[in-house]
C-alpha cells in the first residue's frame, strides 16, 4: 500500500521535475525522452545472452498474460471513529510491438477515482517502456525506461522475461 501510494506521488513528480511545464508523456516516445531527465525516472541498458526473437516472443506471450490486469489494494488506517478502509483500483495496459529489429513493451496504468492533474493518455499514464533489439545472433540489448523507485516487481519480471531465467508475472499490488 505504501509503495502503491509512493508511486502515485512519484508519477506526479515525474512530470513536474522532468518536463517543467507539468505535462505528462502522452506517447511512448515522449516517455523515452522524459525519463532520462527525471529525478524519479531511470534508464537501464543491459545485454542478455538470448536471441532477439526469443525476447520478442516472451514479450508477446507474457505482456498480455501478466499485465492485462486490474488490481485492487485495500488498506486500513486508524481514524477518529475507528479504522478507515481505503481501496484503490488500478488498471494496467500492456502494448507489445514487434518489428524486424526492435521489440517494444509499453506498460500504462490508470487509477480509478483520482484527480487527474495532468492529461492522461488513453490507457493510462506510461509506467514503463522496454525496447529490445538484436546485437548479434545470440545477444539482445534492452533499454528499460521506468521509475527509479517503486514497482520493483514489475521491473524484476520484465528483466526476467528478457533473460528467460524467470518468466513469472509481477504482483502488481507490490
Amino acid at each position: 500500500m505504501t509503495k502503491f501510494f509512493t508511486f502515485s506521488v512519484l508519477i506526479a513528480g515525474l512530470s513536474t521535475l522532468i518536463t517543467g511545464c507539468g505535462n505528462m508523456p502522452l506517447t511512448a516516445d515522449e516517455f523515452r525522452e522524459a525519463v532520462p531527465e527525471a529525478l524519479t525516472g531511470k534508464v537501464e541498458t543491459f545485454d542478455v545472452n538470448r536471441p532477439f526473437s526469443a525476447v520478442a516472443e516472451t514479450f508477446e506471450k507474457k505482456g498480455p498474460e501478466c499485465l492485462n490486469k486490474t488490481v485492487s489494494v485495500t488498506s486500513s488506517t486508524p481514524g477518529k471513529y475507528g479504522p478507515v478502509v481505503s481501496t484503490y483500483t488500478v488498471t494496467y495496459k500492456p502494448t507489445v510491438q514487434v518489428k524486424e529489429k526492435m521489440a517494444e513493451l509499453h506498460v500504462q496504468q490508470h487509477t480509478d477515482n483520482t484527480l487527474k492533474v495532468y492529461e492522461e493518455p488513453e490507457g493510462g499514464y506510461f509506467l514503463l517502456v522496454a525496447d529490445a533489439y538484436p546485437v548479434s545472433k545470440n545477444k539482445t540489448r534492452v533499454d528499460l525506461y521506468g521509475p527509479a523507485f517503486g514497482h520493483d516487481a514489475l521491473i524484476k519480471a520484465v528483466k526476467g522475461w528478457c533473460t528467460g531465467e524467470n518468466v513469472g508475472c509481477p504482483d502488481l499490488t507490490q
Binding site: 500500500m1 488498506s75 475507528g82 479504522p83 513469472g168 509481477p170 504482483d171 502488481l172 499490488t173
Partner: protein, 170 residues
C-alpha cells in the same frame, strides 16, 4: 495493530470478526466438491519474502457452458504443497488462481489473480505448478499420459479464447 478505536476493539479484532462473519454466511465462496476422478495435481509454493506479510493461494473452479458462460463450482484452498483435484474430462473448465497478500505492518491486503481455460482430456493427467515467490507469481501447466514418456506444456488461455473454435475443439 497497537491502537484501539473509540469502540473499544482493535482493527485487528474487527477484521477477524468481519472475516468470520463473511465466512459464516455472507461469503459467496464455497469449497469445491472435488468428487470427480482426480486428474490434476496442483503443486503450490508460496513465500511472501517478508516476515511481515503472508500470501495465501487458492483456485476458483468454473464450468463453461456451451455459450462460454462461467458457472462457479467452488474453491480449492491451496494451503498444502500437493493437492489432487478432479475436473470434468473432455469439457472446458475455467480456473482462476488467486493470490491474497496480507501485510501486518501496513494493515493492507491485496489480491492478484491468474486465469486459464483448461480442457482436461480423458485419460490424461495434468500437473499444475503454482508459485508465489517474493513478488513474482507463476502458474505452469503440463499434460501427461502414462503411455507418453514426455509431457507437453499447456499455454494459459483467457476466457475470450473460449469463443474461438480452436479452443472448444481442443
Amino acid at each position: 495493530m497497537l491502537y484501539k478505536s473509540t469502540y473499544g476493539i482493535s482493527p485487528y479484532v474487527a477484521g477477524v470478526l468481519l472475516a468470520a462473519f463473511s465466512l459464516a454466511g455472507c461469503s459467496s465462496l464455497r469449497t469445491y466438491p472435488n468428487d470427480l476422478e482426480k486428474n490434476l495435481v496442483i503443486r503450490t509454493e508460496t513465500d511472501s519474502g517478508s516476515m511481515f506479510s503472508k500470501v495465501r493461494a487458492e483456485v476458483d473452479i468454473f464450468n463453461i457452458t456451451a455459450n462460454c458462460k462461467t458457472e462457479y463450482q467452488g474453491t480449492v484452498n491451496l494451503n498444502e504443497p500437493f493437492i489432487e483435484v478432479g475436473i470434468p474430462p473432455d469439457k472446458l473448465s475455467y480456473m482462476v488462481f488467486v493470490f491474497s497478500n496480507s501485510s501486518f505492518l501496513a494493515n493492507s491486503s491485496s489480491t492478484m489473480s491468474h486465469e486459464t481455460l483448461l480442457k482436461a482430456r480423458a485419460g490424461y493427467n495434468y500437473d499444475i505448478k503454482v508459485s508465489y515467490m517474493g513478488d513474482i507469481y507463476n502458474v505452469a501447466i503440463s499434460e501427461n499420459h502414462s503411455r507418453e514418456p514426455k509431457g507437453r506444456n499447456i499455454d494459459l488461455r483467457d476466457l475470450s479464447a473460449c469463443k474461438s473454435d480452436g479452443v472448444r475443439r481442443n
